[in-house]
């Protein structure tokens, strides 16, 4: 490997690295504004100047490729003077409004001016005036603070795939803006706030809310989609003030979707803070005692077959497991379901319901086939990975169904189950292409698995991939794109009702009114008629579930409890408590445990450690699932159509959020077609 000398210290570096990266290897910190690891190199802030031997002038280390035998110095007076000069120019037009700037305390310019800034200004000239720019309901702009690093432009063009930002004008008059100040049409747009090294782009909903040093920071997991993005939740007292991304190379790199970031104001609204009982058609506040007594008296009336339970999309493993053991052990019922709709599952093997290629694996792939899915709305971060793969390897992407603009080009190959039949029998052009590729990826969306053709789609594709040796130890092509954070975990814990003949027993019974007592554990995305069912809703927000409930038990939202989540890749992750449940609300597994103890049929755990032990045992245990399917499914001809995803309204928290509502109003007409493309 080539070697470079940084401050008299020799280090080896990889071919293709820049001087800046090599310096970091040597432990020399280089100040920078425009350079960012995940974006292309611009080299326009000049803050990363270093001294190179045999060069009269300092060099911009971020843009200079490192070569063997280079001698770099980063701590000489020469370098210091150069950087101080750059800083002085940057500050020449930068307003001194740190006390009223939201970036204060976490500002790159503030931090670096501590080392390279002068204590007074030599400029008598007026500072530049720039009008505020409108960039949508999420991004607040204060463009006088902008230092033109162009990180936001590069992010929008490269990562988000929405080339809507640009720098207009020239020289001192340069301004960053969207075309005619329309809002950014991207589900990743708010990441530019994190990227902005100064306070030019800040968060609109968080404006003047708090100072970073006043906030309690909790590193946890997101539940808005099945990706399980790593996030940091910042709280001030009870209130969740903001959500920021955390680096996890395997999952979200360092981006999060707008919903993850901004649905958090929904945690403050529409909360259920006390138990409620329906009396004469109206919900009345009640005490825990009254509510649980009524619940227990009702439980005694119904037979086990008449009792059913559903978990919602935001449930953690503790909730799912305790409801399952409550039903199995205490009530003797097995009518459980985690699915919101008739979506085919085959829980026989774990690979049948997870994203096997892994999110990181997308980058290695050379062929991607989307089957009835719109990853841009169903799993935004995953879509960004597909775009990354497309940019890196020119990966060919095909789609059965037409999901609209995905931020990268793809070819749509029909939308009928016929296409799958043809692929499996080798008549379709896709067949040859998939055969030729080394690491193909087939992503099956929930829309494709819906209804009576779901079984055919899944089993045919799986047996096709098995027969062609695409399901190997080193590479598994089969991928299911779940949409809910709770889904994979719930299937892992056996929270479903299926039989050999019928994958949707639960739904059939639900429609036939076989259930008289329904326990909804945070289940809000439901579509059935209440009729004479007795419904208990336990959850955090007053939404569809609470509306039809006869008893409401207040639970905790995802930031208010420690919980385990399994993301769509099957990765177990820990979420931590950042805040606490409001009012009388309690953690969900404790509520269920209490009910079980009250009816003298305990669940076998009394603390969270014991509970987690049981959960882990359950996940790892060999399951004897009585589910035998034949890979030769009967062909069902059907047009696969992608279910409309109301991106900003998918769960209770997002529905309660004012910010998400604003975004929804704005993007109403654009959601399905994507952006107006310049073609």
């Amino acid at each position: 490997m080539p070697k470079i000398t940084v401050n008299n210290k020799e280090v080896e570096f990889e071919e293709g690295m820049t001087v800046l990266q090599a310096c970091e290897l040597a432990g020399a910190e280089i100040p920078r504004f425009c350079y960012h690891e995940r974006l292309s190199i611009a080299g326009n802030c000049r803050m990363c100047l270093v001294e190179m031997e045999k060069s009269a002038k300092p060099i911009a280390s971020c843009a200079m490729p490192a070569t063997d035998g280079m001698k770099i110095k980063t701590n000489t007076p020469f370098v210091d003077k150069a950087r101080k000069g750059v800083m002085e120019f940057l500050l020449a037009n930068h307003p001194l409004d740190c006390p009223v700037c939201d970036q204060g305390g976490e500002c790159d310019l503030q931090d670096q001016s501590l080392f390279y800034g002068f204590d007074n200004s030599r400029y008598k000239e007026n500072k530049r005036q720039v009008k505020e720019k409108y960039m949508g309901p999420l991004i607040k702009t204060q463009m006088t603070r902008c230092i033109h690093c162009t990180r936001c432009i590069r992010f929008a063009t490269e990562v988000a795939g929405i080339p809507e930002l640009g720098a207009i004008g020239r020289g001192e008059d340069t301004e960053i803006t969207t075309y005619l100040e329309k809002s950014m049409e991207s589900e990743l747009s708010a990441n530019v706030i994190d990227l902005c090294p100064v306070g030019a782009l800040t968060s609109k909903p968080y404006a003047f809310e708090a100072r970073p040093w006043d906030l309690k920071k909790t590193e946890t997991i997101d539940v808005m989609d099945a990706i399980g993005s790593n996030i940091r939740v910042d709280t001030y007292g009870w209130e969740v003030k903001r959500v920021l991304p955390r680096v996890n190379e395997d999952i979200n790199e360092e981006w999060i979707s707008d919903k993850t970031r901004y649905a958090c104001d929904g945690l403050l609204k529409q909360r259920i803070d006390s138990p409620y009982i329906r009396e004469h058609g109206r919900l009345q506040k009640a005490s825990w005692d009254e509510a649980l007594k009524l619940l227990i008296s009702k439980l005694k009336i119904y037979k086990p077959e008449e009792i059913a339970g559903m978990v919602g999309d935001l449930a953690d493993l503790e909730m799912i497991y305790s409801l399952k053991s409550f039903f199995n052990k205490s009530l003797g019922s097995t009518n459980l379901e985690c699915r919101e709709d008739k979506i085919y599952i085959n829980p026989k093997e774990r690979m049948n319901y997870i994203f096997n290629s892994s999110i990181k694996g997308i980058e290695e792939s050379d062929f991607i086939l989307l089957v009835g899915t719109n990853p841009r709305l169903e799993a935004t971060i995953l879509n960004a990975r597909i775009r990354k793969a497309y940019l890196k390897n020119k990966t060919k992407i095909y789609s059965i169904c037409n999901p609209g603009d995905l931020t990268y080009p793809y070819e749509s190959v029909g939308s009928s189950t016929n296409v799958i039949k043809e692929i499996a029998s080798g008549q379709h052009e896709i067949f040859k292409k998939i055969k030729k590729s080394k690491k193909p990826i087939v992503i099956i969306g929930e829309s494709a698995l819906q209804g009576n053709s779901g079984a055919y789609v899944f089993e045919t594709l799986k047996s096709f991939l098995l027969n062609n040796n695409f399901i190997r130890k080193d590479w598994n092509t089969l991928n299911i794109l779940s949409q809910n954070a709770s889904k994979v975990g719930a299937i892992d814990l056996g929270f479903y009702s299926i039989s050999n003949k019928n994958n949707f027993i639960f739904f059939d019974k639900l429609i036939n009114d076989d259930f008289k007592f329904l326990y909804l554990l945070g289940a809000d995305n439901i579509n059935f008629e209440k009729k004479d069912k007795f419904i208990v809703y336990q959850g955090s927000h007053g939404d569809k579930g609470a509306e039809i409930a006869d008893i409401i038990l207040p639970g905790a939202a995802y930031t208010e409890k420690n919980g385990l989540f399994i993301n769509l890749e099957g990765k177990l992750q820990n979420a931590y408590k950042a805040s606490y449940p409001p009012g009388d609300a309690r953690e969900d597994w404790i509520i269920l445990n209490d009910i079980a103890n009250m009816i003298k049929k305990p669940l076998g755990f009394n603390n969270v450690n014991k509970l987690r032990e049981l959960i882990k045992k359950e996940i790892q245990s060999e399951k004897n699932i009585d589910f035998d399917h034949t890979s030769q499914m009967d062909f069902v001809e059907k047009n696969i159509s992608i279910n409309h995803v109301d991106y900003y309204y998918t769960n209770v928290i997002a529905r309660s959020s004012k910010v998400m509502n604003e975004c929804k109003q704005l993007s109403k007409k654009l959601l399905f077609t994507g952006i107006e493309k310049a073609v």
Binding site: P163, D173, V679
Partner: protein, 200 residues
Amino acid sequence: MKKISKIQPELFEFSFENLKKAEIEINKYPKEKKASAVLALLYLVQEQNNNWIPLAGIKYVAKLLNVPYIKVYEVVTFYSMFNLSPVGKYFVQVCTTTPCMIRGAKKLTDICKKYISKNQNELSENKICSWIEVECLGACVNAPMMQINQDYFEDLDESKTVEIIEKLLKDEFPTPGSATGRKNNSPEKGKTTLIEVKNA
């Protein structure tokens, strides 16, 4: 920053001849790099649309070259040669960079203020002419000078400038070139060297 006109035409399309010219420009570059033709195309838009580029024209060029609108918008705002709001039929650009300024460009701008309009980028009373100060137009040897539409008017003095502008306001186009009548930038008092060479 340039002002964008509030009055915008709804539609812009190249005329048949300009479309042909545009095709020639686009074909000068490899297919995947056709965005390189953006400057040439913008000049055509400006030529066709009375010396200024409407937003519809930006969109039209972006679609023609298959690039996002903002990319063309960036180019249009970057170069001072492109106008984003209507200018006069006769668009006077007075060079005010150092050499011209030393040779009396200030007098030229004063005349423009007096005869055309009080401020830059404003139309004259009869809506036919507008003026602007610009940076170096590259004819320093013939300072002071100004550009009217596509032509240079050089070696100007007060009376000559007034003459030119009065002509413009009467909707007549004066003869371009040096006001003193010298050829290109030959010495003021005639040749001193290479006298024997005819075409020097």
